[in-house]
């Protein structure tokens, strides 16, 4: 199995290599990067390109590692026991499989996405060491060992909110998705809006990178925000001329709300535009 990017996802050389290394060595791939650079999309696209099912496990601050393995539904059993349901005698009826179990017991290899692992408790990654390393775990309630039939291809994304333990990192491949340069960005946009006019694209891209370079922005617009903005530009049918002017700094780009998500940023941006205009006059 090899991943070479797809028609919907532009993968840089280093990313492709990291993905293939992870696939061939059957180790998890830890993906970090600025928000909106396509960390989660990577797993989706790899699954699509390889033609295997995708299992997604989204982590929240309250998620426990155990929930990925299985959960014992004691409440249903308690209820059934009070109602005299015969199912109550078999504990198997009350073991709910988690994402990892589903991935391990699948008949063909699957892609497993563990999304935003850093949101969880600090102990979370440590609790998954053996499960991800040996791809097996023990179910205490039924005294059985669950072993992966096929080692799943595991993608783990992190936003760097917590440092991950070294023991966990040692077992992973790591890739940091850098913010794409103009060339890669053009490819990415081309993939999402194939019918976009070349001129509009170039103008929009210039505006986008200019906005990104405004000093002091609290949240720089990212790839996904650019794509949203282009979608809006297309939907509103903004003419290319609106983006272009002799001195581009004198206009506020239309629909800039898609790029700047913070009223302080919008304010700062408007002030800068105003200042350059005052200087020019």
């Amino acid at each position: 199995m090899r991943f070479n990017g797809s028609d919907e996802y532009v993968s840089t050389d280093d990313l492709t290599l990291a993905v293939n290394a992870a696939i061939q060595l059957q180790r998890p791939l830890l993906v970090k990067g600025e928000p909106g650079t396509g960390k989660t999309m990577l797993a989706v696209q790899v699954a699509k390109a390889l033609g295997v099912p995708l299992l997604e496990w989204h982590i929240k601050s309250t998620t426990k590692a155990q929930q990925g393995l299985y959960e014992y539904d004691a409440v249903s059993r308690l209820r059934d026991s009070q109602l005299g349901d015969p199912r109550v005698h078999d504990i198997h009826n009350y073991i709910v499989k988690g994402m990892l179990w589903q991935a391990f017991s699948a008949d063909s290899p699957v892609v497993l996405l563990i999304d935003e692992v850093d949101k969880a408790d600090i102990e979370f990654p440590n609790d998954l060491l053996r499960e991800l390393d040996r791809m097996e775990f023990y179910v205490y309630e039924t005294r059985e060992l669950v072993k992966a039939k096929h080692r799943p291809i595991v993608f783990i994304t992190s936003n760097n909110e917590k440092e991950l333990p070294d023991a966990f990192l040692r077992r992973c491949f790591f890739h940091y998705i850098r913010f794409p340069d103009k060339e890669t960005m053009e490819k990415i946009v081309g993939v999402h809006f194939p019918e976009l006019k070349k001129t509009l694209l170039r103008e929009a891209m210039d505006v986008f990178f200019e906005v990104r370079e405004v000093p002091g922005l609290k949240k720089k617009p990212s790839t996904s925000e650019l794509l949203d903005w282009l979608k809006l530009l297309l939907a509103e049918d903004i003419p290319t001329d609106a983006l272009r002017s002799k001195d581009r700094k004198t206009i506020i780009p239309p629909l800039h709300g898609a790029l700047l998500k913070n009223e302080q940023d919008v304010h700062l941006f408007e002030r800068l535009v105003f200042m350059t205009r005052a200087k020019g006059a």
Binding site: D13, D14, L17, A18, N20, A21, A22, Q24, L25, R27, L29, L30, K32, S61, T62, A74, V75, L78, Q82, D121, N159, N160, E161, K162, E163, L164, D166, L169, R170, R171, C172, F173, F174, H175, Y176, R178, G216, K218, K219, Q264
Partner: protein, 390 residues
């Protein structure tokens, strides 16, 4: 195999482990990559480096390893030929190999190189025959001959062959540099501490089961939700020498405001005295007594001072040292009071750590803080948060 490389990374203080090294070898054994150095660079980075803050260190170590000669000037004439051959062969692309043909092929080139190495005695620069730097001979660095063999050059002159690790694109992710808002937020998040507090609105399964079993009827138990309960009291120096650091202080403040539910902040000027205030424009009319702060906020608050601590030492140590009004007790006493009430107390200093030693007031305050003064770089902030979270 590649043990030197591994040791080189270690010597650059990269946290690499044997297991990761073996993973890299395993990957090479399985033929994950072709015979290209770029691929090897990406693969070794994915396998060995697990933090983008270390990418820059890795790039430097990598460059040093593959072009190891540059660190020692004049070594060109002492390189064992076999070693050189191997290294050069590795860094050549197909195109470059074709270009070599132009000079009569690889063998011939190496033959000539060997000859010249023998002829040459010392370090050489310029000219068109000898090995050295800046010439047009096919041997040496910083030259213009497209058929040249590069010896000890950190990037190729014609941009076509710039190696990835020479670009050092990850420099701004290195954790010893200054921060942006997002970085600060991420660092502050390490302070999170979850605890159950407040209204019981979550179903407590385990308690319900055990209680039901004990009482033999369904006994529902509820518990409060887990929340981040860290409480932070932030005291910021404002005005005067802090004007140079306004942007940073602003960023730190806005990051802290979104990260902590219980964040209290006050301003002071240069050093802490009898009064602090919330609004800098009305600092003389609406100020709070520092005693009130000590009484109002419990000792479970974590206190963060932000200031450059740059002033005359008298402002800290002498009564009446304040430049704004006559203070009866010296600033040092107030700092000490805070240290006594709040066990978790740190000072963030936007001045670079290297110059702290040259400013007496910084030294004095650092001592007052029991050494808990940290620079506002990412690593400094992380160290600070670690102390606070303990």
């Amino acid at each position: 195999m590649l043990i030197d490389f591994f040791l080189k990374l270690k010597s650059h203080k990269l946290p690499v482990s044997i297991k990761e090294y073996l993973t890299l070898l395993e990957a090479m054994g399985k033929g994950v990559i072709g015979p290209s150095v770029d691929d090897f660079y990406y693969l070794s980075r994915a396998a060995l480096v697990k933090d983008e803050a270390n990418f820059d260190k890795f790039d430097r170590a990598f460059a040093e390893f593959w072009q190891g000669v540059e660190t020692i000037p004049g070594i060109e004439a002492q390189i064992p030929l076999e070693w050189l051959l191997k290294q050069v062969e590795l860094t050549l692309t197909e195109e470059e190999k074709k270009q070599i043909e132009a000079l009569g092929g690889w063998e011939k080139l190496m033959e000539t190189l060997k000859q010249r190495l023998e002829e040459q005695k010392g370090r050489h620069q310029g000219g068109s025959k000898w090995i050295g730097t800046g010439g047009t001979s096919p041997f040496g660095a910083y030259g213009y001959n497209p058929e040249g063999i590069r010896i000890g050059q950190d990037r190729s002159r014609n941009r076509s062959a710039v190696k990835v690790w020479d670009q050092r694109e990850y420099r701004n992710l290195d954790d010893s540099v200054e921060l942006g808002t997002r970085n600060i937020k991420v660092a502050l998040r390490r302070l999170r501490r979850f605890a159950r507090e407040g209204a019981p609105d979550e179903f407590d399964l385990e308690n319900t089961i055990s209680s039901t079993a004990r009482k033999a009827y369904l006994d529902i138990h509820m518990r409060p939700e887990r929340r981040n309960t860290v409480k932070v009291l932030m005291l910021m120096d404002i005005g005067g020498t802090m004007d140079d650091h306004i942007k940073l202080a602003e960023e730190l403040f806005s990051a802290a405001k979104t990260e902590f539910k219980h964040l209290e902040f006050y301003y002071f000027h240069n050093c802490l005295y009898d009064f602090v205030w919330k609004d800098n424009r009305r600092r003389h009319s609406e100020r709070t007594r520092t005693w009130d702060l000590l009484h109002k906020y419990g000792h479970d608050y974590k206190v963060v001072f932000v200031g450059d601590a740059t002033m005359s030492p008298y402002e800290i140590l002498q009564p009446g040292g304040s430049i704004e009004y006559f203070n009866e007790e010296p600033g040092a006493v107030w700092i000490k009071r805070f240290m006594d009430v709040y066990p978790k107390c740190i000072w963030l200093n936007p001045e670079p750590e290297e110059i702290w030693g040259y400013r007496q007031s910084i030294q004095v305050l650092k001592e007052l803080m029991n050494g808990r003064m940290y620079p506002t770089t990412l690593s400094g902030l992380e160290r600070a948060m670690k102390v606070l979270a303990k």
